[in-house]
Amino acid sequence: MSYHFQPDRSQYPQKKADGTLDIDLASGKYLKLWQGPQHPGITGNMSVELTVCGDEVVEGKTHVGYLHRGFEKLMERRTFIQCFPIVCRVCVPEPDFNEYCYAAAVEELAGIESPERANWIRTLILEMGRINSYLMYLGGQAGSFGMGVIGQWTTYARDLMLDRFEELTGARIYHMFILPGGVRDGLPEGFEKRMEETLLEIESTLGDVYDVMFCNAVFKKRAVGVGFIDPELIDPYGVTGPNARAAGVASDVRKDQPYLVYPELDFEPVIGQDSDIYARADVRRRDTLVSIDLVRQMLAKMPRTGPLMAKIPNVLHWKIPRGETYIRGECSRGEYGYYLVTDGSGYPRRVNVRGPSYTHAVALLERLIVNLDIADVAGLMVSLHTYPPEIER
């Protein structure tokens, strides 16, 4: 049974001539309520300024800037190799995507081709990171509705994957494993076997999550029909990734514009149809299973011998000729892109990060938040899968 929230609009504030809402706070009918920047229901350091009428939101305004670290500006005074510790910190839960996009942009401008084996390992790391990111999301989605147990279970499963990352790259969160020209190292001995054990454990956790969270009547009541994104909004608001796929739009950069070794892998992007919180959570759960399958395929097909790094000049005096490029890829939250401009010097002229969080968490959130209950704001924010650090690079 699908339940759509239909409020009584006669009580709503009318629009004034300039398009803003006629909200008279002195009347006592409306209340300004700040959610964030310190609020357990907000995904990070941002805040939403809500105007509520009773328990219902009539206007929401997002405020960002609590976590501005100026990464894009910092990179303009760093050599190309010095940027690597910075780019991975743009998005904490899925840092590898930044490394890949930046490395691919540098390679393209410098005219370097990364070897075949390095491409396989890069794709493997990206899919492992995607699984991590989705596991973190599932816990957050349940937690935003006050269901703590899913978060603990998926954190356990994610921790096993972090062990595999540690084995492969030497670090758990910020790997800095992908460099321009290739990757640092090959797979360690016995990695496939331990990876298979981890994948089996994650699959069993996902089964439990499905039983406890997706089949839960209360979770369905909270999530079905709430936070509906009209498929017509997908293009004008720049919605990408699972948020768009849950609306029935087949938007997946891995298929639309294949990069790395994706053309050689056999997979179908997961498409949903209801476009509500439940559909988005379900698309992400099924997408995790697709990623697990991709990791298995890659471990089976991957070449075990061959060079890992292409020849790159001395990184201390590395000058890249004038040029500009945009590298895009599909991260767990949508299209991720790096726009890189070089001017022939040893520093990037301009780096611009296109994170999916920016389009999802600012304009789209303000649009979707109207007419929701206060209780659903946290669930909606999590369901868009946004990270404030990525909004303010």
Binding site: L33, D55, A375
Partner: protein, 361 residues
């Protein structure tokens, strides 16, 4: 005549003796109650920890046994040491009064709870009405706390709590009317006596919908998950007690857990036969453990513990209902179901359906 404590006691005036005896009985109820509250918090953290595949508190403790057992004591000491923060422009009198009201309501209801046949502080004939009256007072603590804190989140929590408790109080009251019809008495001791016998004879079977609704309403009334919208963490931070710290918060905490134990004990008394044993016939014949198998306070404790476990289980595995969904469930599902089942119970009582209603009222 030498002055021994016994002669001193005999020489005291009659009214003073009565008061002292009542005070002694109150202590006898309150001390185990507060200890149970303390260890219920530990049990909650441990059980939810196990459900969530982690350990729970396992550090605080001495004597080398079962590390973690001193956690509630450590928590209490921490709460006592913490500063009590006054929000600016808060109404100080009401701000202090609110936790006191909440605790008084949660503890006061224990006066009429019979622990065994005759083991009760006040054997009141209107016990059920007293329970209803006292437990509904608890919401004043929440509303006053939300209002006096001068905070928007606290106010929203208080508003939600008020609406929710009105809705569920009605369903709860109707469930209690069913018990009243079945037992023919408002006295809690007589309600238990009316359920004499084994598992089949208890009221949970003929009053099954009322039993389920009573317990769910009890969960809603004590503001526990999945009905904890008054303090919904991801929505309004902590709701009505967001501005309380130190002992103010601790008293709300005590009140919440004392109310939980109260609801669990009441459910056991009214629907699961109170102190009666599930093995009524084998009791006297079995050697050694015959006393344990017979009726006694330990059965009431066990049944209460079962319902308390359900509370923790709900909290670990359910997401929170939305406020309007709670209202819909209360008004549109629970109240109609209870009213319909009242008719069924009334007909069964008139028809003296065995084995529950064939005894003289």
């Amino acid at each position: 005549m030498p002055e021994t404590p016994l002669t001193l006691w005999a020489s005291l005036p009659e009214p003073l003796v009565t008061v002292l005896v009542i005070l002694f009985k109150i202590t006898l109820i309150l001390v185990p109650l507060l200890l149970s509250v303390a260890y219920l918090t530990l049990a909650e953290r441990k059980i939810i920890g196990w459900i969530q595949v982690r350990m729970g508190p396992n550090r605080v403790g001495f004597f080398g046994v079962a590390k973690g057992w001193a956690q509630p004591i450590a928590d209490l000491v921490k709460m006592l040491m913490k500063e009590f923060i006054w929000p600016r422009k808060a109404n100080r009198f009401l701000f202090v009064l609110a936790p006191i009201i909440a605790l008084t309501a949660a503890v006061g209801a224990w006066a009429v709870i019979p622990f065994d046949d005759g083991l009760v502080l006040a054997d009141v004939n209107a016990g059920l009405l007293y329970i209803l009256a006292i437990t509904s007072l608890g919401v004043y603590g929440i509303i006053i706390a939300g209002w006096a804190s001068n905070s928007k989140y606290a106010l929203l929590g208080a508003m939600r709590s008020a609406a929710q408790i009105i809705a569920y109080e009605i369903a709860m009251g109707f469930a209690l009317v069913g018990v009243l019809l079945a037992a023919g008495s408002l006295n809690l001791r007589e309600i238990v006596l009316a359920q004499q016998g084994g598992v089949i004879d208890w009221f949970w079977l003929p009053l099954f919908p009322l039993f389920v609704i009573y317990f769910i309403s009890g969960v809603a009334e004590t503001n526990r998950a999945p009905f904890d919208v008054a303090e919904g963490e991801s929505e309004i931070v902590a709701g009505f007690h967001v501005e309380y710290s130190g002992m103010g918060f601790a008293v709300f905490f005590l009140a919440e857990y004392a109310a939980m134990i109260l609801i669990a004990a009441l459910t056991a008394l009214m629907f699961l036969g109170g102190w009666y044993s599930p093995f009524p016939d084998t009791a006297t014949e079995t050697p050694m453990i015959g006393v344990l198998l017979g009726p006694g306070i330990h059965w009431l404790v066990l049944k209460t513990a079962f319902f308390l476990f359900l509370y923790l289980w709900f909290r670990a595995t359910f997401p929170r209902y939305r406020y309007d969904q709670i209202m819909r469930l209360g008004w549109k599902v629970f109240i109609p179901v209870t009213i319909v089942w009242l008719l069924v119970v009334a007909v069964a009582v008139m028809g003296e359906v065995p084995p529950w209603f064939n005894h003289p009222l």
